[in-house]
Amino acid sequence: MNRTPPPNPGAYVAQKRSRTGRVVLTAAALVVALAFLLPVLWLIASTFRSSTETFANSSSMNWHMLWPAHWTLENLHSAIDNGFLRNLANSVVVAAVTVLLGIVISAMAAFALAVVDFPGRKIVFGMVVLSFLVPFEAIAIPLAHTFSDWGLTNNMPALILPGLGNGLAIFTLRQFFLGIPSELAEAARVDGAGWPRIFLRIYLPLTRPALIGTGLILFLFQWQAYLWPILVTTSDGNDVAPVAIAKTFAAFSTDYGRVFAETAVLAVIPAAILLGLQRYFVASVATTGSKN
């Protein structure tokens, strides 16, 4: 049989190599993703089996480590019976209010810094960036002293307030606002529109993906929060879910089932949100590092 050589041997080889390369790279991506997923699978499996089984099966390697032999809802029941839903509700309320108010506050600031031309704009922007470069955790302890002096502890406003001032959110939205042609605002000004109207009718509708991404940044901050909540809440009923988990872990060091169940519930919520909204997150952080 007479095989005709490909028109461009070099290209053929490159193509062939790249196909093998693709298989290798895909395999690598799969392995890496599984490595990150494994602890989550173990967490979910451990949620649905008794603690004794968790450790009986992990002392020797077998597939029951990731697949319960006897499924049970006992751990979830135990978490619910001990008031975890109350803690979860606290977390949800804190995160939701933070996202809503935080988007409004960040968008307003970002709008002024990107669109409204006023003297000292650069200085104010520099100040905003610098002040938020110091992470909140670093000053949480002295701030907690101030909050308790003001009598602002053990309530929702105390938990929500720190989440509202987010430099990354302001920075991200400013970048997006800068990307909108200034002619749009100019034309609206000529037609007699004021700044609030331009903000609400032109800028916000055009930057919806960035607003969603910003919402995710604000959400993750509050959903993760741990140090601040332990500083400003003293009663179990006011605890947010991460604090409740840490307390369960410290208090019941032999029964890990409840810890697994609570962690799994707390992980499922952001996972579901992210699965739907991840692309907005990627799009919105895209601008953080580019240009200025």
């Binding site: 991460p242 810890v259 962690t263 990627v282």
Partner: protein, 315 residues
């Protein structure tokens, strides 16, 4: 063009009904008041959340009081700092913090970059792999910390895996030589996917023409990474480096939940030590002094990183 006078103060015979100067001034005032209104909530938050605590910390750090005493705190100037600087425990905490950060930050960024490059290669189901790697960042850190804490127990699954390949049980969180590595593992499992997303976004921003040009010039994958990707990714990399360093300097939950700074102070990083001094030892004054040291240290490191990358960019 003599009919429209741009400068009302110039010698125009009859000023137009609405001189441009007035318009401009009105616009200027309007912009200023609009900016003030739009910025007020954010600036108020900066004052409450960033300035007041620093003032409070300076105030706490320069006073002293006896625990439980009702007497008002007494001003002592820099005494708390001199006491702190002569304390062996403090310097050991500084040293642990620096060692941890010198290892964890380059490691996390290298991993995040490698993953970002891998997951922007147009592979099948890339979205799923990205989501899985990013997932740990969404799990609250307390949850990740306790799950890893249980996984790394002597009778946990990690040791089970090691035993099955013939390695003895390891004291991951209780061994002096291993606790640092274990915390790095936990922090990286949580953080790498998060920083990867920023780098993926940066990689997507690099125009494809650069790669096409490089390919035409016969540059291989490594050469393209070195000569195209890295230089054009400098800004996102700088952002991630600074943000990652800052967040690792204040890492707190894993130590508070899993190690209490131990064993033998090997995971007693500054942020945990400050919390420990403030609440478990009821010494907010030493804690505040230590906090100011941490703040200064962080600001210096961030400034150096900016300077280094800026000079790299110029050359």
């Amino acid at each position: 063009m003599t009919l429209t006078t741009h400068h009302p103060e110039s010698t125009g015979a009859k000023p137009p009904p609405l001189p441009k100067g007035t318009l401009q001034r009105r616009r200027f005032v309007g912009n200023l008041s609009a900016a003030a209104i739009f910025l007020t909530p954010a600036l108020a938050l900066i004052v409450v959340l960033r300035l007041i605590p620093v003032v409070q910390a300076v105030n706490d750090a320069t006073h002293t009081s006896l625990p439980g005493s009702t007497l008002p705190p007494r001003y002592v100037g820099l005494d708390n700092f001199t006491a702190l600087f002569s304390s062996h425990a403090f310097w050991s905490s500084v040293q642990q913090t620096l060692v941890f950060n010198v290892i964890v930050n380059p490691l996390q960024i290298a991993l995040a970059l490698a993953l970002a490059v891998l997951l922007t290669q147009n592979l099948p189901a890339t979205g799923i792999w990205r989501t899985l790697v990013f997932l740990p960042a969404a799990v609250p850190m307390t949850g990740s910390a306790v799950v890893w804490g249980i996984a790394l127990r002597p009778d946990g699954p990690v040791n089970a895996a090691l035993t099955s390949v013939g390695i003895h049980q390891q004291p991951f969180l209780t061994g002096q030589g291993q606790v640092l590595g274990s915390i790095i593992l936990i922090a990286s499992w949580i953080g790498v996917g998060y920083w990867m997303i920023f780098l993926i976004a940066g990689l997507n921003d690099i125009p494809a023409v650069y790669y096409e040009a490089a390919a035409i010039d016969g540059a291989g994958p490594l050469r393209r990474f070195w000569s195209v990707t890295l230089p054009l990714l400098r800004r996102p990399l700088l952002f991630v480096l600074v943000a990652d360093t800052v967040s690792n300097f204040v890492l707190f939950a894993p130590m508070q939940i899993l190690t209490d700074g131990g064993p033998q102070g090997k995971s007693n990083f500054l942020m945990y030590d400050i919390f420990h001094n403030s609440f478990e030892l009821s010494d907010p004054h030493t804690a505040a002094a230590e906090l100011l040291v941490l703040l200064v240290l962080m600001i210096v490191i961030v400034a150096v990183q900016f300077r280094l990358l800026r000079s790299a960019e110029e050359s």
